[in-house]
């Protein structure tokens, strides 16, 4: 059954969207002219359509927002009555997901169910002593207590005696304020986030290779890849909307090759043409081995390397020590699989690598992305490397 909803947006050009029951994947647009400017959040006053009138009676509104979970960063349409959230759909216009949502996004409105209110923190609470139960206090008391304690510690022990530990799940604005507070007001750089557990290695890897922390490509590049090199990542579970894109690309391009590097068998590796179940922690050996083979077989674009890169000679020296038999044994894979991976990676017209925590959460994490990228650089596809951040990233300039 189609439902007509008004998108409560301030832009009068926004069309009404009709969505069918099966998860928002079928979308028809009904162009709607003449919405008055300045009508935020569905203050419906349009009597033209009987369907709209019924929507108006139930005060159903829609607010365009973003999913709070992973780094794919899907657009969502929040359905609500101004007081409570009643549903959620994928935003058909958002370029990350075009209306799709994974199971976590799809169930977001359940997390806002009034029955779950007792799970929420609603009032400031203060423990008078460590072993006492927390007691509700006013915001005034809470903030004054915090300020007094922090000021006291700072005056006695200096600004570096306090620290802040925040999250990649914060909005940019939240993150900015607390960074300024810590670094500008208090004068400490003791500010970190759970992004440290997630994508710091990716950041350093990009800086080492390219000089700046930035993902070079787009989700759209999945559609154009002839070879997908998914290493240390399980997007079928961690970034399902991107994996839908991988699945769709595979359907459209029967010749596409998917290589998955993961010690485990996962739903992602099930889609692979080649699953390299390397022994844990042997990634760098694998990439060095792939490069060794590419050099041996002449799959290297010397002209691009000469024109746009540096450090190749030092690297050539290193990978001399990574011949296929040795690498296959080190990684616990078959030599012919190593060769196949190197060939597909190196000789496909467009190769895209996707990586995540399998590389990042490692004591060689900063180098792994840089090393994984090497084959792409080598073949003039320097832009084809891409880490899928599990969480939306905070803005730059905040690394100590």
């Amino acid at each position: 059954m189609a439902r007509i909803l008004h998108c409560g947006l301030r832009d009068r050009r926004q069309p009404l969207v009709s969505v069918s029951a099966n998860g928002g994947q079928c979308v028809q647009r009904i162009a709607r002219a003449g919405l008055s400017p300045g009508r935020a959040h569905g203050n419906l006053d349009m009597a033209e359509s009987p369907l709209l009138r019924s929507t108006q009676l139930s005060s159903a509104q829609t607010t365009r927002s973003t999913c709070p979970y992973c780094g794919v960063g899907c657009g969502v349409l929040i359905e609500h009555d101004g007081k409570h959230i009643t549903g959620v759909r994928g935003d058909p216009e958002h370029p990350a997901n075009f209306g799709k949502l994974c199971i976590k996004g799809t169930t977001l409105h359940h997390t806002a169910d009034p029955a779950l209110l007792s799970a929420r923190a609603q009032y400031p609470e203060l423990r008078p002593t460590r072993d006492a139960a927390p007691q509700r206090v006013s915001w005034d008391v809470a903030l004054d207590t915090a300020a007094a304690r922090f000021a006291d510690i700072i005056s006695r022990h200096g600004p570096d005696a306090v620290a802040f530990y925040f999250a990649g799940q914060l909005l940019t604005e939240d993150y900015y304020v607390f960074n300024k507070l810590a670094k500008g007001l208090i004068g400490t750089n003791n500010f970190d986030t759970n992004s440290r557990l997630c994508m710091s290695s990716a950041v350093v890897g990009y800086k080492l290779s390219f000089g700046m922390d930035s993902v070079p490509c787009n989700y759209e590049d999945i559609d154009h890849a002839d070879c997908l090199f998914i290493t240390g990542a399980n997007p079928a579970f961690a970034h399902p909307i991107l994996f839908r894109r991988v699945e769709a690309a595979r359907e459209r391009r029967p010749g596409q090759k998917i290589i998955v590097v993961d010690p485990r068998r996962t739903d992602t590796s099930e889609l692979a043409d080649l699953h390299l179940a390397i022994l844990p922690g042997t990634d760098v050996a694998l990439y060095n081995g792939m490069l060794h083979l590419a050099l041996k077989k002449g799959w290297v674009r010397e002209d691009y390397i000469a024109a746009h890169t540096e450090g190749f000679d030092a690297m050539r020296e290193i990978v001399r020590d990574y011949p296929p038999a040795h690498v296959a044994e080190r990684c616990g894979i078959r030599e012919q699989d190593l060769e196949q991976a190197a060939e597909w990676f190196a000789t496909s017209p467009a190769t895209l690598s996707m990586y995540c925590q399998g590389l990042n959460q490692s004591t060689q994490g900063a180098h792994k992305p840089a090393v994984a990228d090497r084959p792409a650089q080598r073949h003039g596809r320097a832009r084809g490397r891409w880490s899928v951040q599990p969480a939306a990233r905070p803005p730059r300039g905040c690394q100590p």
């Binding site: 301030r10 994947q25 004068g187």
Partner: protein, 535 residues
């Protein structure tokens, strides 16, 4: 700003190490749950206990970290917040307020501003009012935008009005109206030389290696339906249905060599800590490697959580810890008294019941506390006891409304075999169960409680030691398609009977919703499953 501090600050692991050794005395934690998610939870526990002052700013009241907080500040969350976020293709999107927050919860940025004012005055900073004169997110973002001028993430060409119309990629410097979709297409890179750099790296082994005492490699990672520490996803019963409790994924060979079986309780340990969970026999991991989902913490299990085992060893450049490589040993668990309890949540969400039951986890060595069900939430407590514990059982019975001998209560006691069972029946429905000493019927009793089926004809079977339900009933099984509630059993039966994936999808709707189950559907349809998986 007059100046910024020169000394680099402490990264996450270093920060908690400094709290543990006392050099950092206060920590303000916001929007995250380190007592679940940081590696080496023994260190985190010591750190938060030693700290003089711990502030927790969060939307959720009962995270593992909240137990350590001296001051809790309620924050707004998704659906209430207003601002921007950036995704993995450098696209900045607006996050917009739909509904007001509950109680006195405030926006994270507003909490920071209010605190800054008060702290600033105490520190004698007369400039604080001007520095933190923000009235709304847009003014903050505009200031942030200005700091990006001339830098790699230059967004001086963007504005809130532009972002209202559509999300935009960075960089987008002033003078441009669209972000740059792809970088380095011209072969020029932002390094001093303008060239991309090859990073010559030799292979090094992981920080922790297996040995004779700790011969198994522990990997950690995500489940399909849970997010991080489960403070949000863990409140929704149906999100437990894909993997319903903390489980160690372990190869059948590694189980067999320890005389263990699928579903057995076992302990996973190394010098850093111990985790007690049930086994899930699986060939998705090779022999010699085991896997624990990253999400489970002290709210869902006995002990500190799965990160009691992970190492805080970190990359020297990125400071990111090696969460994916630890050495562990797996052993059978002493004690043989099985405990299985469930209670249907009368309030819809089960949160009050979860909070009431959580202290029990601190009294147990082997336990899990989870939600189950879909339209009807059921709270499930499983445990393995060394011996029957009458005081513990009395406490549990009281919490589950099984303590009073009224018309709703059914009891069974077999003192000789140390078996004791209770059930509560209301209006013909099973609303609570407590099995001690023998729990073979757990799964189908759970299915009864979840579905609200009339159990009147089944009363005489309720306490029988039956693995399988009386004819016609199904057990609680793994749900593969969450959107349309299609179980693995249904899917396997369909494929075994020769039904095609397309026909199955037509008939049940599975895979036609969000699509997250498609990889699994294809896998189930493509070959005969060889794993023993059901519990």
């Amino acid at each position: 700003m007059p100046s910024l501090p020169a000394t680099p600050g402490k990264s996450a692991v270093e920060l908690f190490q400094a709290l543990a050794d006392g050099s950092v005395k206060a920590v303000w934690i916001g929007c995250t749950n380190p007592a679940q998610s940081m590696p080496d939870l023994g260190l985190i526990d010591a750190a938060l206990k030693r700290a003089e002052f711990v502030v927790l700013q969060d939307a959720y009241r009962h995270t593992e970290t909240a137990a350590y907080a001296d001051l809790i500040l309620p924050a707004t969350t998704w659906g209430e917040k207003d601002g921007t976020v950036t995704n993995s293709e450098r696209r900045i999107s607006r996050v917009r307020t739909a509904v007001p927050p509950p109680g006195e919860a405030r926006h994270d940025w507003a909490i920071g501003v209010a605190f800054a004012h008060r702290l600033g005055h105490r520190l004698g900073r007369e400039d604080v009012d001007a520095l933190f004169a923000y009235d709304r997110p847009e003014t903050i973002w505009n200031e942030h935008r200005e700091t990006t001028r001339g830098r790699d993430l230059d967004i001086t060409g963007l504005s809130y009005p532009l972002l209202e119309a559509a999300p935009r990629q960075w960089p987008c410097p002033e003078g441009h109206s669209e972000g740059l979709p792809r970088l380095y297409s011209d072969g020029r890179f932002p390094t001093p030389s303008g060239r991309a750099r090859f990073v010559a790296t030799t292979w090094q082994d992981t920080a922790e290696q297996t040995d004779a005492r700790y011969p198994l490699q522990l990997n950690t990672g995500r489940l399909r339906d849970q997010w991080h520490g489960m403070s949000r996803t863990g409140t929704v019963a149906r999100l437990y249905s894909h993997e319903s409790e903390p489980l160690l994924h372990i190869h059948p060979q590694d189980l067999a060599s320890r005389q263990l079986h699928d579903g057995d309780w076992l302990q996973v340990h190394n010098p850093r800590g111990k985790v007690v969970v049930r086994a899930r026999a699986s060939t998705t991991v090779p022999p010699g490697q085991v896997f624990l989902p990253m999400h489970w913490g002290a709210n869902a299990m006995a002990g500190l959580g799965i990160n009691a085992l992970t190492t805080a060893a970190f990359d020297p450049l990125s400071k990111q810890p090696e969460l994916k490589h630890a050495a562990v040993q797996v052993e059978a668990l002493a004690g043989s008294t099985e405990l299985f309890c469930l209670r249907r949540a009368e309030d819809g969400g089960g949160q009050a019941l979860l909070q009431a039951l959580r202290p029990l986890l601190r009294r147990l060595d082997a336990a899990s506390l989870t939600l189950a069900g879909r339209d009807q939430t059921v709270v499930v407590l499983r445990a393995r006891l060394n011996a029957p514990d009458p005081a513990l059982l009395a406490d549990i019975d009281a919490m589950l409304d099984l303590g009073q001998d009224d018309e709703h209560l059914l009891s069974y006691d077999d003192a000789r075999h140390q078996i004791s069972k209770r059930a509560r029946i209301e209006n013909g429905q099973l609303t609570a169960v407590r099995l001690c000493g023998e729990a073979r019927a757990a799964n189908w009793l759970q299915a009864l409680a979840e579905s609200g089926t009339d159990i009147t004809p089944l009363r005489r079977f309720l306490f029988a030691p039956l693995n399988h339900a009386p004819a016609g009933l199904s057990a609680a099984t793994k749900v593969v398609c969450n959107c349309y509630n299609v179980s693995e059993t249904t899917i396997r039966k369909a494929f075994a009977a020769g039904e095609s994936l397309t026909d199955l999808q037509q008939r049940t709707g599975c895979g036609t919703g969000c699509g997250s189950c498609m990889p699994e559907l294809r896998r189930l349809g493509s070959h005969t499953p060889v794993e023993a998986m059901s519990l």
